[in-house]
Homo-oligomer: 409 residues x 4
């Protein structure tokens, strides 16, 4: 590389790009698209600073991967230059399959396809473009490379992805309690039996990390107002799809139109080049610009949803630890039908209930391992002397019902 | 207000909304539109974190106004509750007239109208909506209120607008040297002869503020890569307007189409309701979504500009302290005509030169006054014992020429 | 006050002193003494930045008291100006009774007297000096004032003392995971039934606060190396007292000599003016300067301890979840006797074992109350939906044995 | 090294010690002494957080040296492992010769010897102890090593010493405007013609650095209250020396007594082992503990100075841009003689005038060089397009007079 490329990051300081291939991947339009996809979807409706992008997160996670590998190498873990580059590219591309508004639309835009699957498709396409130089990165990403610990750095309960996004999301939302000590956690990393482990004295940092993550879930990611606007967006798109199926013409960008008009599945991505082509042109801009057209729609439901989203006239949300009785939702439906002079079918887009659940620590996933002494390794849920992490392993579920504020009056 | 409203701000911590009217202004769709206008236009092409919005800046400046007024009152400056509310609303709305991409398109979208003029129009419209409750705020904003110092807090060389934007822009870009001590500057504020002054011991903080601002100009606001992509955006819109005038049909949102098709002037805003209506639907989304349509345009010039912007294939920029000779630009034009098989008229959108200039301290504007002893007031340019601020008063001009990178090879 | 007094605080920004009486209390030599008493005793042996003083902490806690009272008043809690001033002075003076090295020497310098008792004596003495103006502050501090919640702000499981010291200690040690969101916790404070409560939505912040505090305990306050050097200091002073009782002359400042030569009890403070006089001249300087004399002592034990403390040649520490068997300590004693050619009595100062325990949340103390709905109040241990805070209520005990490193070889 | 040693630094995060020799130097009592010498002497009398130590600064500067060398190596500058280690040790030890209260007592404790000279003596002594392993470090420190740029990293107008102390002092005082972007400055470093240069685009960062340094000088290092208490300390020691010469006995630690009783010169350090021995036992504790004895002295002058320092009853300071007339000082002297019933000789310790001056940029020292294009190098004073750095090269002098506050009434 004839020039040392540096990105300014308010979170980590300078992010240096040490290798020409990494730089070329960043420059590719597939990766540049991530500049137009916000990391936290609609969370800025509650936390106005939370408008950071997938692009920035991918760079941050890449930066932490470099740090982690450097620490592990100092501790004597064998990692070749090729593996290092592979792990860097794997983390850089781990989210490249994200569509507009990230998780919000993950299942309503394209059903049954998650972003990891699409990331893999992108990686393969890029690997062709870069003439096979991404093969090792793909193996690490998919977990098929012999050194499993490299995959764990990319994806596990304590991967550099989480270390970056928790830090970054806490930073941009301004939720200080969500701040974790990623620097200390990385300092405490080691490898035993081909698994990433944390040294014994890092145990309090892990506890702190798990609690911070739990806090970020309930305070940010699953914040009831965020859930509400996300559901409103999902309903608007469902309504649009319904209208289109009924034969109405709705303005939307070519890329968005494609996905509104076609039920796309994972295998379509694989067999039809144009699916990925359209997907690569799709980002947050397409969704919001469609809403700006649709607020002038003659369909009252679609118009109401788009107006409310754009002008931030959010619905009312009720929350509970148990499911709302069917009667409650039915009553709201009937009020809505009366109030808005709409059919039952129409109000089903305006009154809706949902549930969300979350583990602070998921014992069924890849565990967080603590190194005791030289070679013994135990799960954090066993290692903590006091904080009952097994308690945190029980998923917590919360139930919601959403409806236009006017019904609450 | 039955609820204490708080915004999380990674820059200032919690921002409290103390008054129902302020809250209602924030909730108005006119103000919510600012959520979709980035503070720094296209600076995120260089500083990926710089995606904070006008909405957030307006809240931040509002917060600093509250602090400044509170300090002044403790120091014995008389400010009534009505004046306090007026100043708060004036600063909240100071940027409401900004269009998409803020300064970038200020003169290409609507010629001869600056955002302050449009802000005033908005304020008047909102004043009708809020039944005259914004009258005092408007007087303060326009500088027609008897206590001039309140206007200076809103708009002068050391207003809370600058204190917030320098702090915020330094924060989100990650350019630490741009950080100013807004807290100290506010602590040092006072009023003498109806003018905002800074107490003597704040003199080094002012120097530091002026230098930080200068640094932010050259390192961020007028960063050559930022200028380049801004110019590319301006040229794309000029090209689109040209094609439309020639009769071509170009997809764009209704609001954007209106301004592409009509030469709007200030008086049009005043006499025709629908001008403000369309303007109120216009934000960053409209521009980027149009570019996403236009990259499929049959016009090679428009297509090239849109592709290059969206995929961040930026043009080459050369910079100089004196104007580039006409021959240089002509030579580039000719190369472009040959390379791209285009007419002279077409390449004029692809090869262009420009100049930009900036004062670190503008002695012709409202001055920064330092309080010496009890009552003497002097201009900072005289008060500094060493730093020759008068030198900083000379505008610096830099000249640029931009052209597609392929011409440089 | 003819001048607005401000302190710069890297933790909270500017700390403003709003009242002349507060300023005069700060200026008093009793309070200025706190400039020479470090907040964290010997923790800088592990965290070199942790050299902040009791003086600075007292100012910080005072600042948070002002914020808390301001929030409570906005929420409609009745607090008069006198009560406000009283609470401010109570928190300012809450630690004034601390002696050198804070908790480390609390029980070895003066047995059976804790710093709160001495704080009360100081407050009474200052109240005479300030002609009764501190009476209300004393009532709040002692918990005898009718509004109990004011006492809780000064002293409870979620008082402004803890909010400041956790924040400050995390800041100066650089242990980021210990950072709490004091701003949010204060925002969530309210009063119900004359008790400080936290609003429902602050529950995750409380959990985060409890976990952060637990982490600070094990990672900083009870860090094994910190405990070790603290124990070495205690042993050095015990040895010095022993030698003095045996008739040896040891150099020390007059104030320190007084406490080395006399067994002082709480009632001595009350009946003999000179006890408080000497105490008021005692600070960290006296202890370290004595060690610098004593490293030249002819007593080998005292010399070894002082040399090792001053040159940071720390002892070896072993740690366990259960008590070390008597045989282990005896064996170390015998090795030490042989190695250093010392008597059993002498080595008892060089080989010693100890235990320390800590609650993350103490259910027997003043509880942390959560407000559910308008008026219901529940203990945090019941309110948390998942984090089993009752588990955190079980005290954790750790056992240590310390001895000169040479014995480990 | 069998263990990876890490220091926590609130300023730079983790500081890793990469080499056993570096660790052993840190562990040596000569270096540990720096834990008891504050970086900013008595500045905590104004900025209570400013109690950080020379120990911490030395570690911080060492950390930045590692970063600088790593960047330079990436840019192709040849630096061997031995040179790297040498530069690291040179910076680690650059301030080891500092005595108590750093600059304050530099010329009153030992006349005509500055701390660099003593640092060199220490380095030589340590080199003997470490069997010649410090030879290269000493050559770099003294500027006699062939690669001059290594010396410039240790000592020049833009060395890592300044980068650390400005950052650290701004951090601990809480003076945010003093913050510099050390990370960016290091990123912009390069070497041309064996000199450290800054790349062209770092020019605004340099300007910002020079202005920040100027601000720190007037706002912190030469703050009038800081100067005042420093002068009071100097006068107290001069008085003590005077009394000792007259035959009085004054309590002080053995080390301090040695320097109070003997006029020590540089050559005494070289020829008499015990001079360095005593010096190595001397730190801030000795001075303050002596003042605590001396406040009970029968000499009224010494007693007054010590009382005023310990209880922070500071003298009155007047400040001016020109020297105070002799008559002013004489009048104050006479008032003092009358008020305190003292002789002219006695009041000369209580009423005194002084002057201090400072360059923001010293053109006579090692210049700050800017790299233009590939190989051209120019001085920053020429390179800046607007900020007239030559103006900043003129030294600014300020004059002071100090006297007991009671004389002002």
């Amino acid at each position: 590389m004839n020039k040392r490329k540096i990105f300014n990051d308010p979170v980590h300081g300078f992010i240096t790009i040490p290798h020409e291939l990494v730089f070329d991947v960043i420059e590719h339009p597939y990766f540049q698209r991530l500049r137009r996809i916000k990391q936290l979807g609609l969370s800025d409706y509650v936390y106005p600073g939370a408008i950071h992008t997938r692009f920035h997160h991918a760079l941050g996670a890449f930066h932490l991967m470099r740090k982690a590998i450097s620490i592990l190498k100092i501790k004597g873990v064998k990692i070749t230059e090729e593996e290092e580059l592979g792990a860097q590219i794997a983390i850089l591309l781990h989210d490249i399959g994200h569509g507009p508004f990230s998780h919000t639309l993950e299942h309503s835009l394209i059903s049954g396809v998650n972003h990891e699957d699409i990331s893999k498709i992108y990686m393969k396409r890029l690997n062709e473009y870069f003439k096979g130089k991404l093969t090792l990165a793909i193996h690490i990403f998919e977990g098929t490379y012999k050194k499993k610990f490299l995959h764990q750095l990319v994806s596990s309960q304590l991967d550099v992805d989480r270390l970056d996004y928790l830090t970054r999301d806490a930073f941009f939302t301004g939720v200080n309690e969500g701040a974790i000590s990623y620097e200390r956690l990385i300092e405490m990393m080691n490898v035993r039996n081909d698994e990433v482990v944390i040294e014994q004295k890092g145990i309090y940092s892990i506890e702190s990390f798990i609690i911070a993550r739990r806090l970020m879930y309930w305070q940010v990611y699953l914040h009831k107002t965020v859930l509400c606007v996300e559901m409103m967006m999902v309903k608007a798109i469902e309504r649009a799809k319904y209208l289109i199926r009924k034969g109405e013409l709705l303005d939307a960008s070519p890329a968005f139109s494609y996905f509104l008009n076609n039920e796309v599945r994972l295998k379509d991505f694989q067999k039809d080049e144009k699916v990925l082509h359209y997907y690569s042109h799709l980002d947050d801009v397409d969704i919001f610009s469609a809403f700006k057209y649709w607020r002038h729609s003659s369909d009252k439901v679609l118009k109401m949803l788009c107006d409310c989203i754009l002008d931030r006239k959010l619905f009312k949300i009720e929350i509970s630890n148990k499911a709302f009785p069917y009667t409650k939702v039915r009553k709201l439906n009937q009020e809505a039908m009366k109030k808005f002079k709409m059919s039952e079918e129409e109000v089903s887009y305006l009154v809706f209930s949902d549930a969300t659940s979350n583990h602070a620590y998921n014992p069924n996933e890849n565990r967080i391992n603590i190194m005791k002494g030289k070679n013994e390794v135990v799960d954090i849920a066993q290692a903590s002397d006091q904080l009952n992490i097994s308690v945190l392993s029980v998923p917590v579920t919360k139930y919601y019902v959403f409806y236009p504020k006017v019904l609450a009056e």
